[in-house]
Symmetry: C2
Subunit: 444 residues, 2 copies
């Protein structure tokens, strides 16, 4: 059994499951004027279909919708990050700023709101949501400017606010985030059916977090936003317009974001079309198809890359010692996103660093052989052209033959230059998707 | 199901499996003049039994031998750490220095060599080996003093030498380490049967590492010892006697430590009576008996405690999300030893810090409930009177009610004072054994 080939095939299955067009196609089935989305039927007879979208993968998602619903699409507008385009026939493609929203983000939001205002009770609106959508679709509340929003983000970042704290504040300065796009779509009861097809780059795929949850119930409040301002000492650091809007919200003078029981979600179906869980389950099926005794440990993996890698090496050793947690030929995998605390001046990313740290731990384990693969699904691990790296029990020895020291490379956060000369970088090119990372260890 | 109670029972099963007397009793079976040790028969008819031992758990191990072989014991000598005593009838108990060997370590070694020199071809010698044995049994080679040994250890530590590098050097300065006790026992073919009963505190239980492997084949050489000296720049920092002995060894003027095919091991049986693997497997059986879908991930777990803890929390989340890697009610466990990089001024140990870091990640996970337990088997986690700690999805909230902040406690390495007021320390008292740590997460 070629373990490296098996590892790459398993990773390939994850990538395929995360591919935006394939992901959309999986949940859509059309027979003439009947359409099933995620198992629920939507009649197309006399129905106009509108498509809106925002996110880095949303152009490719729109392509899939055009393939299935071409003749039914009455109008469409998708906002992507500059350069993240794909050829579309009926849906207008628009480019805007990311990670910071710009004027085109606002223009796109206005166009989308204008477009969906045409959709009536018998119509169907698809929202194609993917990572980056939070910046690409933006419409600040009246009185708050784009500049105010940027100043707020800056101040939150400098204050050490956590990502959920930042989102709590930003949802309450927007007309579209935190379920508010769904409110616009609902037209006070006269609105269309809404199907949000969501490609999630968020660990755990919490609907209110992906692209700031424009069609999902919000779990945060103006009161919580104000708590963040207080807790992080931001009263003197935020624009006056922002503070004023939050205070008005706390006093109930502007509407709260819609919550789970709100009727605006009555005709909204949110469907995750791809995420780390779906990608990992595809990887798991591929591993099983390869005859490997396979375990999916988690799709919530986090922690310092080099430390988490030690857990994977430790499991490989146990497979060999005692056939726990699964007997060889074994494949143990997890999805998620580790972090790297940069201390050196080298080049790499969390996935490459994971593979390097694992390589050190499995050095010499060649009979049975141990292979570790760690790679992202977006094709870009850190500021490199690699998605990740692959290592086995002989990797350290092969590097040493070339005078490359693994421990020194790890100490310098230089996994890229460790793996590059070995030909052990995993290179996919841009994948136009992002469902976080896959890490796996094989023993056989 | 009371998950906390289940977690404590599983940990209890691990402790029980690691208990020295029970561990010895498991591998010994006697019927009159017939004795089976680890499945192999040793006739006792006309056989004199000698018992020697060294290590922190060796007094309790000796008790078990006396219980089984009382009338057959012709002589015995066991060296333990000061205070690690237990009442013995026929076997002499001796106390010596640990972690640094002292004059009593040498006296004990000489007594042991003298005692076993009486054992002939028809006799049986038991060696009771446990953690700490490397310091407690010491006999430097001629020309090297105890002071030289200490200076060598100091210099190695200061040079940043890894533990395997230190052991390579020290084995080649000793008359007993690295299989050399077996050589003494063999009497050039006239020696007794030798059974080493080993309680391992070494991850992976490599025979040549536990107590420096006095009766196990050595995998290191004088040449490697010299490489360590060069690599670590120690030529000018080691005592002249030490450098000279290593050089003589390299030139073949003093005998090399015995290797795997050496005939001195022909009548030696090394048996691991307890180690982390045996303890974890007992814990696994208990978890299964409790009706939990159980996985043993590894007995080689290492890495920074707070990072490894995140992997355990991530698995709990996945059990709830997708029933991977096992469906609830679930128990996922691992053994090993994590590390703590101390940055704060609080009190704790690696097991308590693991539980605290996990508690932060599982906060709010109460339905289904998640319980994390992390505890050592020696009863002393870091410089505390606790073996470890237990946490669940409500731990953070309970602490917050008392004004105790988990993140602040973790930042200050102060897990002890986080768990103590909650009554969530795991306290066993000294267990007189050490087979590393157990970490587990339960979801139900």
């Amino acid at each position: 059994m070629n373990l490296r080939k098996a590892a790459l095939a398993i990773y390939g299955a994850a990538l395929q499951a995360a591919e935006p067009r394939a992901a959309i196609r999986r949940v859509l089935r059309r027979e003439g004027d009947r359409l099933w989305v995620g198992g629920r039927e939507y009649p197309l007879d006399g129905t106009r279909v509108f498509v809106v979208g925002f996110g880095k993968a949303s152009a490719a998602m729109a392509q899939a919708l055009e393939e299935v619903l071409d003749d039914k699409i009455a109008g469409g507008w998708v906002t992507v990050k500059y350069g993240h385009t794909a050829p579309l026939q009926r849906i207008h493609l628009h480019e805007a700023g990311h990670p910071l929203p710009d004027a085109n983000s606002i223009r796109g939001a206005l166009e989308i709101l204008n477009l969906v205002s045409q959709a009536g009770r018998d119509d169907l609106v698809f929202c194609l949501i993917s990572g980056g959508g939070s910046a690409l679709l933006e419409l600040p509340v009246p009185g708050v400017t784009l500049e105010d929003l940027r100043a707020t983000t800056d101040a939150l970042l400098r204050s050490g606010a956590a990502i959920d704290e930042m989102n709590t504040v930003r949802k309450h300065l927007s007309e579209v985030k935190g379920g508010q796009l769904a409110r616009h779509l609902e037209h006070e009861g006269a609105g269309p059916q809404v199907v949000s097809l969501i490609l999630s780059d968020v660990i755990g795929s919490t609907l209110d977090t992906i692209a700031s949850g424009p069609t999902a119930p919000d779990s945060t409040s103006f009161a919580q936003a104000q708590s963040v301002v207080e807790r992080r000492g931001l009263r003197d650091r935020l624009p006056a317009s922002v503070l004023e809007h939050i205070e008005r919200g706390v006093r109930g003078e502007v509407p709260e974001t819609p919550k789970a029981m709100d009727s605006v979600f009555g005709r909204v179906q949110n469907i995750i079309v791809a995420d780390n869980g779906i990608a990992c389950e595809a990887a798991l099926r591929e591993a099983q198809a390869q005859g490997l005794n396979s375990l999916l440990l988690s799709t919530f993996l986090q922690g310092e890359a080099r430390e988490v890698a030690q857990v994977f090496a430790a499991m490989a050793k146990e497979v060999i010692r005692s056939q726990h947690p699964v007997p060889p030929p074994a494949c143990i995998m997890a999805g998620g996103e580790t972090t790297v605390t940069v201390r050196g001046s080298g080049q790499g990313g969390r996935s490459q660093e994971f593979a390097l740290a694992a390589a050190i731990q499995i050095a010499g384990m060649v009979e049975p052989n141990v292979v570790v693969l760690s790679a992202g699904t977006d094709g870009t691990d850190g500021p490199t052209d690699a998605a990740g790296a692959i290592a086995d029990g002989a990797t350290l020895a092969r590097a040493a033959e070339r005078g490359v020291d693994a421990r020194a490379a790890l100490a310098n956060n230089d996994a890229y230059h460790f793996f590059a000369p070995l030909g052990d970088l995993v290179i996919t090119g841009p994948t136009n998707t992002n469902v976080n990372d896959l890490m796996l260890v094989l023993v056989a």
